[in-house]
Structures are given as C-alpha cells and as structure tokens.
C-alpha cells in the first residue's frame, strides 16, 4: 500500500521546530558532556565520563541540589495541591461573589516568575519586609528572622511562594474535576446518611483521582524543572541551601565556565525526570479507572 505524503507534510513544520529547538540542542548537550570546554575559544578536550564523576566530588553541590529538588517537590506538592483543592472546594460551594473569589485565587497565576520573586523578596525582607513587620505587630517579634538569608528557612520560604503562585492553577484543575461529578452521586450519598465530610471522602476524592494523577505529574516535573523563581529569590543562596539542579548547572556552566560538566548535570537531570515520569505513568495506567 502506498502511504499518502500529506499527513507527513502537515507535521513537518512542527517536527522541524522540535528537532531544531529541542532534539539537536539535547543531542549537543549529550555530546558536550564528554568534553571539557570553557565556553570561550576552541580549546576542547575529551574527558570521557569525568564530568559525570565530578558531580559527586568535593566542591560539587549536585547531590545537595538533588535533595533540595526532592524537598521542593514534597513541599510544593503539599502547599500547591492542598491549597488548590481547598480553594476548589470553597468555589464549589457557589458562595456569593463567586467570580471575585475565583479571580482572587487565580490572579497570582497571571504574574510571571521574576516579578513574583521580587515581590516576595520584599515580603521576606529582614529589615522592611511585611512578614516580619506583621509578626512584630502581633507580638511575635521573636519569630521574625531573615527568611531568605537563613539556610534553615530559605528553601521553605521559596516553596511557600511557589505555592502562592501555582495553587490557583491546581484550583482550576480540581474545580473542573468537581464540576464533572454528577450531582446524583452526592444526593445518593446523602440519602445513605453521608455528611459533608463523608461526601468529600467517599464521592469527591475517588472521582478526582484522574485529576490527582495529572496534578502529581505536573507537580513532580515542575519541581525538577524549578529555576526561575529560585533564581529570582535566592539564586541558590545562602550557602547553596536553595540550590536545585537547574540553578547549580547554570552556575557550573556559565559562572564556572565548565560547559562540559554543566552538560553532564543536564543529562543526569533529564534522565531522572524521564525515569520519574515513566514510572509514574506506568503506575498510574495500572490503576483501574472509575467510569461515571
């Protein structure tokens, strides 16, 4: 059978863009990960797997940054999804001023990350920040601290900001999921004597599972891609306590002039995210789907 060329021609522009912008740079990064190159000039040296080994030596913050990525994942998962779900449930009550609430909850999503980072730097500022100011005003001045300058709190402060930024996005997903659940199911549950909490636990939660699957995947891949907010708020400081793999590899490649090592970190990062996504996808597909 002769295949028609038209479908292939239709996808050609998108394919060309994908190859030019994603595949070729990715392949280039992979090749470069086996070389030493400063990014300046033509001096380049093949070093085999040395750039990969260097990630685990003294002076490298790869392991620390990977750990921070995981902390960031867990913290943003809790903050973004819990707040997102809570806000979706509030909206689902169809209160007065529903539109105003929805706009308020969603509004941080329309801001780009750099202004969000700068805005929250002011909130957390040790001298002029409103957080410390508010704590002092209500008699909790002893809790005031340099939130972004203290390695014990800096990462969590960034996670909270991320939660503020993204909770609205998850709210929309959960709210859409809640709207899809037939009202008859709630009515049946009520006839069976279920309370509000019972309806939520036995009707809403199980039927939101598909949404949870998507949210968890988005949250996990988003956490491993985290860069812009951390770059704007802390730059990986203080003492690398907010360093994630993306900020560390940018530092290595562009500040340390070690493009080969930076490329090796990028390759390892890609593999990790790919494995997480595949594992999760495999696990999620095995679970049976509830039809309604």
């Amino acid at each position: 059978m002769v295949r028609k060329p038209a479908p292939y021609l239709y996808i050609l522009p998108a394919l060309a863009l994908f190859v030019g912008i994603i595949l070729l740079p990715a392949a280039g990064t992979f090749v470069l990960s086996f070389f030493n190159w400063s990014g300046i000039g033509r001096d380049i040296e093949f070093v085999g797997l040395e750039n990969y080994r260097a990630a685990f030596r003294d002076g490298s913050y790869f392991v620390l940054s990977l750990r921070n990525n995981i902390v960031y994942l867990v913290a943003t998962f809790i903050v973004e999804m819990c707040f997102g779900l809570a806000m979706a449930l509030v909206l689902d009550f169809k209160l007065r001023f529903f539109g105003v609430f929805r706009m308020l909850f969603f509004s941080p999503m329309v801001l780009s990350m750099m202004p969000v980072g700068l805005l929250w730097r002011f909130v957390y500022s040790p001298e002029i920040g409103i957080l410390n100011g508010a704590l002092k005003a209500i008699g909790l001045g002893s809790l005031a601290r340099p939130w972004l300058g203290d390695p014990a709190t800096a990462l969590y402060a960034v996670c909270l900001t991320s939660g503020w930024r993204y909770a609205g996005f998850y709210m929309i997903l959960f709210y859409a999921g809640l709207q899809r659940i037939p009202k008859q199911l709630y009515e049946s549950a009520r006839i069976d004597g279920a309370s509000d909490l019972g309806c939520f636990r036995h009707v809403s939660l199980p039927l939101l599972r598909e949404v949870f699957v998507i949210c968890v995947l988005l949250c996990a891949t988003g956490a491993f891609q985290a860069f812009d907010l951390i770059y704007a708020m802390t730059g990986g400081k203080p003492y690398h306590s907010t360093e994630v793999v993306a900020t560390w590899l940018v530092e290595v490649a562009f500040a340390h002039n070690r493009f080969g090592h930076g490329s090796a970190l990028a390759v390892m990062m890609t593999v990790i995210v790919f494995v997480i996504a595949l594992t999760y996808h495999f696990y999620a597909r095995r679970r049976e789907t509830i039809e309604y």
């Binding site: 912008i21 300046i40 003294d58 002076g59 490298s60 002039n257």
Partner: protein, 437 residues
C-alpha cells in the same frame, strides 16, 4: 563521526537557545546599502553591559556624535544586562558565530582569557600613535596588558571595596573615620551598643563580601601571597596561617554581631538601600554607589568614605586599594579594525571623558577628565584614595579565574554569615579547589 566535527556541531547547537535570545539583536547584516545596492555605511557592532541611565544615555549621545562625524560608519549597540553579559551574553555572541567588533570587558584575567581564545586584537601599536596612550592614568595598564601587549582600552577605574559611612550617624555617636583596625572595631562596638547596625552587606551575589575580605586578607598576608594563592600557584593553599588570620578578623566581627542579619540573602542593591535609609552606619562597596546616591538617596543624606583601616601587624602595604580597570576590546578578526579603533579614540577623548565624569560620576581612566569642576566631591575622594595608594590589589571576582575563586567566595559567605570558622571554611575551600584542579 570525526571527533572535531562532533564537538563543533555540539558546541554550535548547545548555544542555539541562548543565541535566539541574546544574539538576534546583533544580526542584520554588517553593511547598509543605498538605492543602487552599493554598501553605503559600515555597521560596527558594539556589545556592552551599559544598560542603565545616565551612562547609557551618555553612551548613546557619544555614538550619535561619532556617527555624525563619520557618515560612513554606523554603530549598532548590543546592550546586555551586566550579569547576563558577564555569564552568558558575550560568550554566546562569540561561540554562536556573531562576534561583535568592539566589546566591553573587565581587566586583567578576562583580558588574557579572551586573548588566548583568539577574540582580542592587539592594540599596543595603536596606542603609541598620536600619543593616545598618554591620555590615560599610567597605573591602568596592568589591567589591560597580557604577556606584554595591550588588548584593552580602559575607560574607567573601579575601586571595588571602599568603606562608605553615614556622616550623620557618625556625628550623632561622636565617631571619626578610623585609621587602624583597632579603631574600626571600637567604632563597630559603639554603634552596636547604641542599637545601630554597624556594617551592612548584600552578599547574595557573593562578590561584595568576598572583595572586602580579599582586600583585608591581602593587608594581613601581603600582596604576593594573596596573588599566589588566588592565582592557584602550585604549593599554595587557602587555609594558610595568614589567610586564616585575615578571614578570622571577619569571623570575629560576625561573632560580635556587627553585620546586618541574613546578609547572605540580601542583594547588593538592597544593602545600598539599607545604607541610604540609615539602617546601617557603614557599607563597604564600590565607587558606583555615588551614582545610586544621586538617584535614590533621601534628601539630606550625607556620606563619605574611608580606606580599609591599617592592620597593625599586617604584612601587606597598608595604603593599598582594591581596584580593577574596565574598558573595551576589539575583536581580533574584525573587518573594521581601523573604524573600531577610531571609535575608541573618540570614546576616550578628553571632552567625552569629561562628560562621563560630570554626568555619570565615572571614575575615568582619562587623566585630565577628572577635575574639581567636573567631578562630584565623593569621586574626588576616590581619586585621592587612588593616588595615595602605593599598591593595587586585584579584586577576586573578575580579576582571577572565577571558576576557581568561587570556592573562596563561598568560604567568605560562610564565615561572614557565622556558619563556619575561618579555618573550617578555608579548608573546605581547599578541598573544592583541589577537585577543580
């Protein structure tokens, strides 16, 4: 596949996304054409990191003047924000195959690095013509020279670690600028006891405290040992007695609570604002604060500067300053070398340099540009400091191989933030440097 081809291709594609963002402004042909299709004007591409006013406005004006004087030359500016320019911007332009004809650069280490990479034209002979070289402060050539040849036309001198103080706070507390380290510590103690933050830093970018600590260490250890260690000469190590003693003095200050809290999470600009708002009495930073003060300091804010106080038993020159010259380099393979040099001659002419001094507060490297008529009184203070210094110490952040100096900058941040002792931090620094070697 041939390794050379593979690497070349890899390098090219590696920079594709960066090029799309950074280099597109530099594209667009290197000659303008008239109606007959003949080239009418040469287009000289100039990359630099001057993005903020009043410097950018003055540079635009200078470019317009030059173009009016040379109708056959057009200058296309590619202005990139300083941090991006230093890390990604300039490298992307060269590696991506769109090198600028003229580009701004910091002196010393980067001059050598770009020369070795084949990106720098030798300007030594040009400077000898028409006594061009005589216009400049003779001390700047150490920053512009590599292996005996000059590759950088210096336009400004940056004193990167001057100690600025709030005059009103000093007066209210009966304090005078210190001349010795002991006096300095007494001042810090008095200020702290009176409820005032003595010294503020915005050390998020690491260089503010690292520069200051480096200067202090050079005073304690001596300039030769400082330079040997920062240059990673074989057999040297950061955790030597003199470095531990120097950094230990900052450790003692941190332990006494003389710094603003959370300084490693504060940006350099935020620290400048804290100083302007009177929330700290002293702020060590470069001469560029003069310009910020003109724009952002509150009405009636009075400030002045003092040099790093003398360390009583220090092995270094106690008059030294931490300094770097910056300026412009010309691409080695440019087709428009003569035009590029002509532009730099104009940029460093006395009249233009005077304008940069009077309107932008630039510490010009052109000798006769800074006078009492053209310069801000604070700039004159810097000039006086510069002239009275017998030794110039190179700043670590751009004066040495940044990749290898970063562990030292990390060590300073750990000590000034009270996380580690000077010895522990410098030993950690040595381990990191050993891994890099």
């Amino acid at each position: 596949m041939n390794r050379r081809i593979a690497v070349g291709a890899s390098r090219a594609v590696h920079f594709m996304p960066a090029l799309a963002l950074v280099a597109f402004t530099a594209c667009g042909g290197r000659g303008e054409h008239d109606a007959t299709g003949e080239p009418s004007r040469i287009v000289l591409v100039m990359a630099h990191s001057t993005t903020g006013d009043p410097e950018k406005a003055e540079l635009d004006r200078t470019v317009a003047e030059f173009e009016a004087l040379h109708p056959d030359i057009a200058i296309k500016q590619n202005a990139i924000e300083t941090n991006i320019y230093e890390t990604i911007g300039l490298k992307s332009l060269f590696s991506g195959g769109t090198p600028p004809d003229v580009y701004s650069q910091w002196g010393k280490y980067l001059v050598g690095q770009y020369q070795e990479a084949g990106y720098a034209a030798d300007l030594t002979d040009e400077l000898e013509k028409d006594s061009w070289k005589d216009r400049f402060d003779p001390s700047v050539w150490t920053s512009a020279t590599y292996k005996g040849r000059i590759y950088l036309i210096p336009t400004s001198i940056d004193l990167t670690s001057v100690i600025w103080y709030n005059k009103k706070i000093f007066e209210q507390n009966g304090l005078e600028p210190p001349t010795t380290w002991t006096e300095f510590m007494t001042i810090c103690d008095t200020l702290k006891n009176n409820g005032i933050v003595p010294v503020c830093f915005g050390n998020r970018p690491l260089w503010p405290a690292a520069n200051w600590a480096a200067h202090l260490i050079s005073r304690v250890a001596g300039e030769q040992l400082y330079d040997d260690v920062l240059s990673m000469k074989p057999g040297t190590r950061f955790a030597n007695d003199a470095f531990i003693k120097g950094l230990g003095m900052i450790e003692a200050m941190a332990r006494s609570g003389y710094f603003n809290p959370g300084l490693n999470g504060v940006s350099d600009m935020e620290a400048i604002m804290l100083f302007f708002q009177g929330r700290a009495a002293i702020h060590p930073i470069g001469g560029w604060i003069i310009n910020h003060a003109k724009k952002a300091a509150p009405e009636g804010f009075e400030y002045d500067a003092f040099k790093m106080p003398a360390i009583e038993d220090g092995a270094g020159d106690q008059t030294s300053i931490l300094r770097l010259a910056s300026g412009y380099m010309v691409y080695r393979d440019t087709r428009y070398f003569d035009e590029a040099v002509e532009f730099l001659r104009y940029l460093t002419s006395v009249d233009v340099a005077k304008r940069f001094v009077s309107r932008c507060g630039t510490f010009s490297s052109v000798q006769s540009a800074i006078t009492e008529e053209t310069a801000d009184p604070h700039l004159l203070t810097l000039v006086s400091m510069h002239r009275s210094a017998h030794t110039v110490v190179t700043a670590p952040d751009v004066g040495y191989d940044r990749a290898k100096v970063l562990p030292f900058m990390d060590a300073v941040s750990l000590v000034i933030g009270g996380q580690k002792s000077a010895r522990e931090a410098l030993e950690q620094c040595d381990r990191a440097v050993a891994a890099l070697r």
